[in-house]
């Protein structure tokens, strides 16, 4: 495709801090290359704002290669923008044409309070992991990688679930602001492996209890999370989480870890 430049109008959410009420600000941006990433477009805008003596827009980013999950932006009604299986940093400006207006909002969920502008606090995810997203390993020499036989299919499924980067797009996209896809990915990648077995009976229950405590909504199987997840985490993981949950309720030996 031909390289081209464009002028855009950006409507971006500005919010001073957690407690202040936010509002939309409109910014014209000029001379954006179709080769730029969406975040590079924001860099251009921020440089322009700094040059004008204004405050730049705060947004989260880190790896800029689609693996860290930091770049949370809700773009024209879509988590990470309109591209499938893509984070904001991997969304490119060739998606847009000259004269477009783009509305950018932060993730919106009570459990992800806005810290500033587009930056939200996702530490609720960390606390869910702390509640059960771990395994017990003894210290000492590293065990030979091949000492534990694992079925190829299970290894693959576990790997696919482990691809979750904790970005929170599932919560942002879910009409209920539910974190089930995230939690299911974190439960699944451990539940499928023998290393995850010791805590198996308590993991799902503890993580689900923490998820509820953090104030996420409950899953009604709408599926917007799967449609928006940049890592293609499947709803089958939610089915597995449900099975793990039911399993630990029925197994009887499910005292708190």
């Amino acid at each position: 495709m031909e390289h081209y430049t464009m002028n855009l109008t950006l409507k971006v959410w500005k919010q001073k801090n957690k407690n202040e009420k936010g509002r939309f600000e409109t910014y014209p941006v000029k001379g954006i290359s179709s080769e730029m990433s969406f975040l590079e477009m924001f860099d251009v805008l921020n440089e322009q704002l700094v040059a004008e003596g204004k405050e730049p827009i705060a947004f989260d980013h880190d790896c800029r290669e689609g693996i860290c999950g930091a770049c949370s932006m809700y773009i024209n009604g879509r988590a990470h923008g309109p591209w499938h299986n893509t984070t904001t940093c991997q969304l490119h400006m060739r998606q847009y044409k000259d004269g477009d207006t783009i509305v950018v909002e932060p993730w919106r969920a009570n459990s992800f309070p806005v810290i500033k502008d587009l930056v939200v606090d996702r530490s609720s995810f960390d606390r869910i992991i702390q509640a059960g997203g771990y395994i017990s390993v003894n210290t000492g020499n590293a065990v030979d990688a091949n000492s534990l036989p694992i079925e190829k299919q299970k290894a693959d499924e576990s790997f696919a679930a482990a691809a979750c980067i904790g970005c929170g797009a599932c919560v942002a996209a879910c009409p209920n602001a539910s974190a089930m896809l995230f939690v299911s990915a974190k439960v699944s990648h451990l539940a499928l492996l023998p290393q995850g077995d010791p805590e198996r009976k308590t993991r799902a229950v503890n993580m689900v209890e923490q998820m509820d405590k953090e104030g996420f909504g409950s899953c009604t199987n709408i599926g917007a999370c799967e449609a928006e997840c940049p890592k293609g985490i499947s709803l089958e993981n939610i089915a597995r989480l449900n099975r793990e949950y039911i399993g630990s309720v029925f197994s009887g030996s499910s005292d708190k870890a």
Partner: protein, 222 residues
Amino acid sequence: MNWKNAFSTSIGKKLQMSLTGLFLILFLIVHCYINAQIFYNDGGVRFTEAAHFMGTNFVIRTIELGLFAFLILHVVQGLLLWAKNRARRGTRYAVSAGNQTSRWYSRSMALLGTLVLLFLILHLSKFWGPNRLSQTTGHGELDLFTMMRDEFQVTWIVIVYILGCIALGWHLLHGFYSAFQTLGLGTSKYKGLLKGIGVAFSIIVPIIFALMPISFYMGWIS
């Protein structure tokens, strides 16, 4: 985790919705089968026989109590979840994804369910209510077949019944598969099969139900 709070977490409530929903689906199957007896067009002989059994058998009448309990649980829990989940978003998005990432009926289960409930109240007040009242006051069973024939001559009633069936169909289109997904059966192995059965069920059963008032209205059944 014990039994008591197993059903009170978010997944626990989902299980409540799933299990009560599946029971209501079972009820739909039985109800549909019994009422479909009118299509024999035998002046209601077979239908009346089946309705008599359902209305007087002790076991069935006991299950009926359970059915109402489950129905109420399904409605109350569903509405509570809807209100809670709505509040979890906090500030609403200025631009939302709409149908790009999910189906409208999956997002509208509370609305569709409320429509089905309103229809159900009308429906019960027309047939089940008067019949049980007559039974408990010692006047015996009513002639439900004749009542159907009379009620379904009224245009607005037939229209409301058709709308009720449409709302039920959309509700089931999400609910049927969703119930199994909640039980953990949405795996690559069963997903396709369950979705297929769900779609077929959500279309066929409401159509059979809707054909009942339509058939009387059009005079196909006498």
